[in-house]
Subunit: 252 residues, 2 copies
DNA sequence: ATAAAAATAATCAAATTTGATCAAAAGTAA
DNA sequence: TTACTTTTGATCAAATTTGATTATTTTTAT
C-alpha cells in the first residue's frame, strides 16, 4: 500500500472518529508504526490533521475568513516582518486602502493600536480582523465574493473603491521588476490594485524579496507610482541600487 | 487515555454544564489532577474554554462572524425551526436576498444543498457560511461595517442592494402587527429591509411568535407587501386568523 | 488584616513516544 | 541486467508526557 492509499485511509478513519493512535492505525493498515508516523507528519504539515503524542486529532475547522492557505511556510516570517514595517507607516487619523493579499493582511495585527483609523478594503479577513476593534472603522467593498481570495472583486468592487479617497494605499504584488514594474497574477487582483493606487495620495507596495526581479502575468502599475517598496532584509544591494536609480525608495 | 480523548471528554462535559472543577474532572476520567490542569491550560490557550481557579468555564463563542450574541437561548430553537421552514421555500436556481438578522441566519445551514443559488446579502456571517460552498455564489453589499450587527449598512449598502433584483427576499423583523405592519428596532435595519423588499419579486418575513402583535420603533413595510410570514408553532389561532383576514399567508 | 485552606506552578523521575540513522526492499531508468 | 533513487522498516538516543512531591500563590474564613 502506497502513501496515497494510506493517506486516504487515515483521513477516512479521522473523519469518523475525532482522534486515533499511531499503533492503532499501524495495526489496522498492516503497516509499521514508523511509516505511519511519517505519514502523520506529512498530513500535519498539510494541516489536514493535528499531530499529538501517540496519535493524531482531527483538524479544527478553520475559520472561513482568517484562514489563509499559506503553502510556503518559510515565507510567513518574511511576510510578518514586512507587515510590521508597513504598519509603522500608518499614522492615527489616516484613511488607508488595504488590498486582499496575505502579505498586506499581516499588517492588521500591528494596526490595532493606531486609532482612530479608517480602512477601506475588499478583503474579508481584514474586515474580520477589526470586527471588534474600537476606533477602527472598516469600509468593505461590495460585490461578488471570490472564495479563493476571500475578497470581493469585479466591477462593483472597483466602482466602490473608486468612490473613495484615502491617504495611503497598501497593496501586494506578485512580481516587481525594473523592466515591467508591478505585475499581478490575475486580472482580478490587478484591477483592484490599480483602483486603490489611483485613489490614494501615497502608494506603498508590500513584496517579499523572492518576488523582486520576477515578473508575473499582468502589468498593472509602473514603478514611478510607488512612494515606497516595503520588503525584507534579503533583498540584494544590487536590487536596492537599481530601484533607487528608478526613484523607488526601499524600506526593509 | 491520551490527550485527544481527554480533550474531547472535557469539552463534552463543558458543553452540557457551563462550568466544572478540576478534581471533579480528574475523578470522572480517572486521571491525575495535575494532568487535568495541564489540559485545561492548553485548552484555555486554544480559547476553547476559560480557566478559573479550581476549574474552567465555557468559552464565549469565539469567531467574530459566526457568533451571534443570542441573549435569549430559549428563542434559539424557535429560530432554527423557522430557518428550516424558510429554507424550504428556496428552489435551485433562485436569486435571493438575505438580511442580517439572526433568524434569517439560521436558514444558511439548510441552504447548502440547494444549488445553484445566488445570494445577495449585507450580512458577514451569511457570507462566511457559504465561503466554501460550491454552487452558491454570494454577493456582498459594500459599505461601512456595523460591528454590532456584523453587517454593512448606510447609503452605500442600500445603493448596492437597489442595483440588484432577486426572486425572493427573506428578512427578519423586530415587530409585526395588524395595526402597524412590520416594525424595526433601528433605522439602519429598516432601510436595508425596505430596499430588499422593494427589489424582490416575493417577500418572506421571518419572525418568531413572541414578536407577533408587538410593535417596535420604526415602521418599514405594510403587511400587504408580504407573500408569507414564516413563524413557529406557538403563534395563536386568533393571530393566524387576523393575519389571514389581512391577506397574509402564515407558514408554521 | 491575618491565618488557614485550597489551588496552582515548578521540579523531578518513570514510562512512552518520537525522530534520526542506517539497512533492506521496491521501484526506475539506462 | 545494473546502477540509482525512493520508500519502508528496525534500532536507539533524545524528547515528551505523565504523575508525585513540594513551594508558591490565591482564595476563604476569622
Amino acid at each position: 500500500m502506497g502513501y496515497p492509499e494510506r493517506k486516504k485511509q487515515i483521513l477516512k478513519i479521522l473523519d469518523k472518529r475525532d482522534s486515533m493512535e499511531v499503533q492503532e492505525i499501524a495495526d489496522a493498515l498492516g503497516i509499521s508504526a514508523v511509516t505511519i508516523r511519517r505519514d502523520l507528519q506529512q498530513l500535519a504539515d498539510e494541516e489536514l490533521l493535528i499531530r499529538t503524542h501517540g496519535g493524531a486529532m482531527k483538524a479544527p475547522p478553520r475559520h472561513p475568513f482568517t484562514a489563509y492557505a499559506d503553502k510556503e511556510t518559510q515565507a510567513v516570517n518574511k511576510k510578518k516582518y514586512i507587515g510590521k514595517l508597513a504598519a509603522a507607516l500608518v499614522k492615527p487619523g489616516d484613511t488607508i486602502f488595504l488590498d486582499c493579499g496575505s502579505t498586506v493582511f499581516t499588517m492588521c495585527a500591528h494596526l490595532k493600536d493606531i486609532t482612530p483609523l479608517r480602512i477601506i478594503t475588499n478583503s474579508l479577513p481584514v474586515a474580520a480582523a477589526f470586527m471588534d476593534t474600537p476606533g477602527i472603522q472598516v469600509n468593505l467593498a461590495g460585490g461578488e465574493i471570490d472564495s479563493q481570495r476571500k475578497a470581493m472583486h469585479g466591477s462593483k468592487a472597483i466602482e466602490h473603491i473608486n468612490s473613495y479617497h484615502a491617504d495611503k494605499a497598501f497593496i501586494g504584488t506578485d512580481g516587481l521588476s525594473v523592466k515591467s514594474g508591478l505585475t499581478a497574477f490575475s486580472e482580478k487582483e490587478a484591477s483592484i490594485s490599480t483602483a486603490m493606487a489611483g485613489s490614494a495620495d501615497q502608494l506603498f507596495v508590500l513584496c517579499d524579496s523572492s518576488k523582486i526581479g520576477r515578473d508575473s502575468y499582468q502589468k498593472f502599475a509602473p514603478l514611478s507610482l510607488l512612494n515606497a517598496l516595503v520588503t525584507d532584509k534579503e533583498i540584494t544591494e544590487k536590487q536596492v541600487a537599481e530601484l533607487k536609480e528608478k526613484g523607488v525608495k526601499v524600506v526593509k
